[in-house]
């Protein structure tokens, strides 16, 4: 038993994008499932449009679900290969019965595809007939069908070619403006996160270790794990050689651990001190709107 998501507090403002950055085991996917209502939290609350989705009835949750939609990493496995595109993008609408007349449904399908840059001719085709980028557009169209307020995008571009990534990032921004959407953008791609997000939360072993406006996070990095992550991303500039900012031996001689016992990063941290295992570092506001769970680095001069 371990804590997948540990004492995480975040808020998302209307028409803004928050980035959740983390590697495997960070808890970012569990967090997404909690927000979608697929998993129930053991403690705490998740408030969407004024309602705590962990505390309402199944019927009330069902009514709220259309407001939060999701796009996944692999556009192919998130669509039924035996369904035509029309049926894929209309499926949520049919299940929720938000539109019933066949003529109106057809109109909606065409308009959804158009908003993601695809033509009517796509309607009668199957997912396998499209490229990766086009499939992701279809998934985005599907996510828009219930007129959501929030879209959770879980690594939506990492499986795509880089020129297509650029197209999809532009599309996501356009749709955000057009439909006043709010996004939760989960990714390990820091340059995409910088580009798309207003705020960023960095997760490690179930904790948010740092949170700030995206510009601030990159220019004034305060948590050792965030520093490690940033140093690991290869810079597409051959004149700027990067070096991985971690301990070579990966062990500070401290036991490291999870939860309230100590800082979750202490066993790998180059700045770790004995007080790092005395208890979990509090979420300290080290600069306006900039939080970090570290008792050492933000206070070094």
């Amino acid at each position: 038993m371990f804590t997948a998501v540990d004492d995480v507090s975040l808020s998302l403002e209307e028409n803004r994008t928050i980035g959740i950055v983390g590697e495997s085991g960070s808890g970012k996917t569990t967090l997404a499932k909690l927000i979608l209502g697929i998993e129930k939290p053991d403690s705490g609350s998740i408030t969407v449009a004024g309602s705590d989705i962990s505390a309402i009835s199944a019927k009330e949750l069902k009514a709220l679900r259309p407001k939060i939609q999701v796009i996944f990493q692999d556009p192919y496995s998130s669509m039924d290969p035996r369904m035509k595109v029309r049926d894929i993008v209309l499926e949520p609408v049919r299940i929720n019965k938000t539109v019933r007349e066949p003529a109106k449904l057809e109109e909606l399908a065409v308009s959804l595809l158009r908003s993601v840059g695809l033509g009517e001719d796509a309607l009668d085709r199957y997912p396998h007939e499209f490229s990766g980028g086009q499939r992701q557009r279809i998934c985005i169209a599907r996510a828009l069908s219930l007129k959501p307020s929030v879209i959770i995008a879980d690594e939506p571009i990492s499986s795509l070619d880089i020129s297509i990534q650029a197209q999809i990032m532009n599309l996501l921004n356009e749709l955000k403006e057009k439909y006043k959407l709010s996004y939760i953008f989960i990714s390990h791609d820091l340059s995409a996160v910088y580009y798309l997000c207003d705020h960023v939360a960095v997760m490690y072993k179930g904790n948010v270790v740092e949170y700030a406006r995206s510009g601030e996070l990159f220019s004034n990095t305060q948590h050792p794990y965030t520093k490690l992550l940033l140093s690991a991303v290869p810079d597409p500039d051959p004149d700027k050689k990067s070096a991985l900012a971690e301990r070579k031996d990966g062990n500070a001689g401290l036991s490291g651990g999870t939860g309230n016992g100590s800082c979750v990063f202490s066993d790998r941290c180059p700045y770790a001190e004995p007080r790092c295992v005395a208890g979990r570092p509090p979420d300290a506001e080290i600069a306006p709107g900039h939080f970090a769970r570290c008792v050492v680095l933000p206070f070094k001069k």
């Binding site: 070619d161 880089i162 580009y195 490690l228 690991a232 290869p234 810079d235 051959p238 004149d239 991985l244």
Partner: protein
């Protein structure tokens, strides 16, 4: 980043390589006019998007082609022999031994029902005529070398007992086990977390230096190219559109496709304007249209681009570009 290797003699020379594939009863050209050389101790990055032919371009060196594909022209010169025309038996003596591979998905490249030790030792027994016990001893040393602790004990573990990053280290150990001259790494870190990716790339580069090997690194990640490569080949639609030393590719690209790729990257700490994208899609291999394959997606293409495919123009001894824009600048290659 480049080693100060004295040898100017390339360790591998690919000349005018062409590969066809049989698809739905037709013979399609998937690679054409592929020419490049690899110098000892250098890292050559092969960059391209899906369908560019970059993987086939590298794996064809050791004839790791799907059954429907075959080399139709060209030569692959290694150690004085043409790998495109030697027998399968002779090639098997080179593959995994003098020229070895690291693939993208370690879980599917490793046999799940054999121990790591057995799989590592297998390669050594096969190519070095060693006894199993000697091979196992060497395997333990190799695992230590790639950063796996308690190596001797871990020889008895199975692939599923290792994390993704550790499995990739095992693959690297396997690729190094016979002291190869060339390692071909096909997207070796794509499936891994970014910090593990950095560790694995550092490991590959350190070992390359230590063992004075050459590395062919296939990737679509331009950051990885910038940080690790000495020379770069940019693939598009089965051709090399541009080849140059790494700094030139990033600072002074000489092909519209290379420029377009560089422009589609979001850059940290720069203004958040819409990203410049490349309109359209790469050409399908099934339709052989005349002219430059990139022309439909390039807004400044002129008549010659539509009518005739450009040859490679040599901009310098180390640089080439398949673009009519370079026609005035240099002699034909």
């Amino acid at each position: 980043m480049a080693d100060k290797t004295e040898a100017a003699e390339p360790i591998l020379e690919v000349k005018d390589l062409a590969v066809n594939i049989r698809y739905e009863g037709r013979d399609l050209k998937i690679l054409r006019d592929i020419s490049y050389s690899l110098r000892p101790g250098r890292t050559l990055a092969i960059v391209g998007e899906s369908g560019s032919g970059k993987t086939i371009g590298a794996l064809s060196i050791v004839r790791l082609l799907p059954n429907s594909a075959r080399v139709t022209a060209g030569r692959i010169i290694y150690a004085g022999r043409d790998l495109a025309s030697i027998s399968e038996e002779d090639l098997r003596g080179i593959r995994g031994n003098k020229i070895s591979m690291v693939f993208q998905e370690p879980m599917t490249s490793l046999n799940p029902v054999l121990t790591i030790g057995k799989q590592l030792a297998e390669t050594i027994v096969e190519h070095k005529n060693a006894s199993m016990s000697d091979a196992l001893a060497q395997s333990a040393v190799l695992l230590e070398k790639v950063g796996i602790r308690n190596a001797k004990a871990r020889l008895n573990d199975y692939p599923h007992n290792f994390s993704g990053g550790m499995r990739q280290r095992v693959m690297i150990a396997m690729a190094l086990s016979c002291g190869p001259d060339i390692v071909i790494a096909d997207e070796p870190t794509t499936a891994l977390d970014v910090t593990i990716q950095a560790q694995i790339l550092n490991l590959i580069l350190d070992l390359r230096k230590e063992n004075r090997m050459s590395l062919i690194l296939i990737t679509h990640n331009l950051g990885i190219v910038a940080q690790n490569a000495d020379d770069v080949l940019v693939f598009y639609a089965g051709r090399i559109m541009e080849r140059a030393p790494v700094r030139d590719i990033f600072k002074d690209p000489k092909h519209p496709y290379t420029e377009a790729l560089l422009n589609s990257l979001p850059k940290v700490n720069q203004a958040k304007e819409p990203l410049k994208t490349i309109a359209g899609l790469p050409p399908s291999f099934e339709r052989a249209a005349p002219g430059c394959p990139f022309q439909p997606r390039y807004p400044y293409a002129f008549d010659r681009c539509l009518a005739e495919e450009p040859p490679e123009f040599k901009i310098s001894p180390e640089r080439g570009s398949k673009c009519w824009l370079r026609g005035n600048e240099a002699a034909k290659a």
